[in-house]
Symmetry: C2
Subunit: 253 residues, 2 copies
């Protein structure tokens, strides 16, 4: 048997951001496992059998893929963005540790992808152009206390911050609490970029401050990019301003 | 005139990680500006005139590209990885602010790329599978004090950490100081992954702890990935262990 598992980042969505490697591996797969919208995206690049599943079923999905590979399948597990950034890679490794010891002998590789924060940052300019932190606001798998601790640390280090998973249908208060915390720790004037559906027809970008951001615009498809104290705007006539964090960081300013 | 500037991330190096969008834009460019090795990488995808320059000349390079675009050129400014992560995007925006006011009216866009940390993390497993920080250890443009402040904040938040630019021919002490600081703040047993030349023939990965890492292996082409307190190894027979950070973060552990 020559089964394998490839954990693939599809990038933020459009074909222009899918890596040639990911495309090749999808073409070789016999079975594709993923959250339904990502499995549907993968369909364009493969003749494999699709095994879509719901959000929240990550470990069950990972175990199914590992069991398929053990029986000889070429199992592609797909994530949006990069599978190693709040995607399926860690879920597959958790499942490997929990499951059949023979799974550790399987041929398993992660195929990197363009993470959504990079596409969102490019749309705005270069808000992550200096040191930054990446934090998921979902408290489904971690306590809110560690999220608060990390937001505080990000402010203490004067990092720019990319916030994943700011809200869902059932999680709407968390992002308000996070923004209130950031406002207290970093100041109300801190620049924030809201980016939704980047690279898709419904793409939307809003540039605001922590004080002026309308949090009702934030949903599952939104990424938030918070500037550091040095993040700046370049005004442009007839276009959105460019948001960027300079490479320089003067000692005394 | 219909000049433009596109600030392009080439990805970590191999063609398999170059986005279709970056490839298309390179094919349309009339002039390519970049640090010599990246300009040479771009040569495979374009008939444009190449304008290679030395490392450290970022603002001069950016101004040259903007001046070319002002005269009608289709100017591609290339970076390795993603241009918005310690790449040319912020340098171009700094140059826009410093230079001719007409430059702000130019058609300027950032074309995102796969950042090197994502490819390095995929090679190791999923060390960045939970919240993480991204820090450049270069003190060429920022004081060492802010780097230390950010390393301390990263430990205080129990983030995983991607360290860019750990060393160069002339900067060899900084990474030793950074590792000593991390060892004091996070403990000597913290997992660290050294990844060099990821995706190239000379690719090398070393998995160690802060205490056991041989810093003489670190050079300009190295990325370091430091685990959080939760980062784990999965031992595999005849293969490098998988390094991953679980998605779960238990309150009491």
């Amino acid at each position: 048997m020559s089964g394998w598992v490839r954990i693939i980042g599809l990038g933020p969505g459009p074909e222009k951001w899918l890596s040639p490697e990911a495309r090749d591996v999808l073409a070789q797969a016999s079975d594709v496992f993923g959250y339904t919208p990502y499995a549907q995206t993968a369909r364009a690049y493969t003749k494999a059998a699709l095994h879509p599943s719901d959000n929240g079923d990550e470990i069950a999905r990972a175990k199914e893929a590992l069991a398929f590979a053990q029986r000889g399948a070429r199992a592609a597990v797909v994530s949006g963005g990069d599978a190693g950034v709040f995607g399926m890679a860690s879920a597959v490794f958790e499942a490997m540790e929990q499951g059949d010891a023979a799974w550790r002998a399987l041929d398993v590789e992660v195929i990197p992808g363009m993470s959504a924060m990079l596409a969102a940052a490019a749309l705005a300019g270069a808000p992550l152009g200096h040191d930054f932190c990446v934090i998921s606001l979902s408290d489904r798998l971690k306590p809110w206390s560690i999220i608060e601790r990390r937001l505080r640390a990000a402010c203490a280090g004067d990092f720019a911050i990319a916030l994943y998973n700011p809200a869902s249908h059932t999680r709407t208060e968390q992002v308000k609490n996070a923004i209130a915390l950031l406002e207290r720790e970093c100041g109300a004037e801190r620049i924030i970029v809201l980016a939704s559906n980047v690279g898709r027809a419904q793409e939307r970008m809003v540039i605001a401050t922590l004080a002026t951001l309308d949090s009702s615009l934030i949903d599952m498809r939104t990424l938030l990019l918070v500037g550091s104290s040095r993040t700046r705007l370049i005004a442009r006539e007839g276009k959105a301003p460019l948001v960027y964090t300079p490479r320089f960081y003067a000692e005394d300013s």
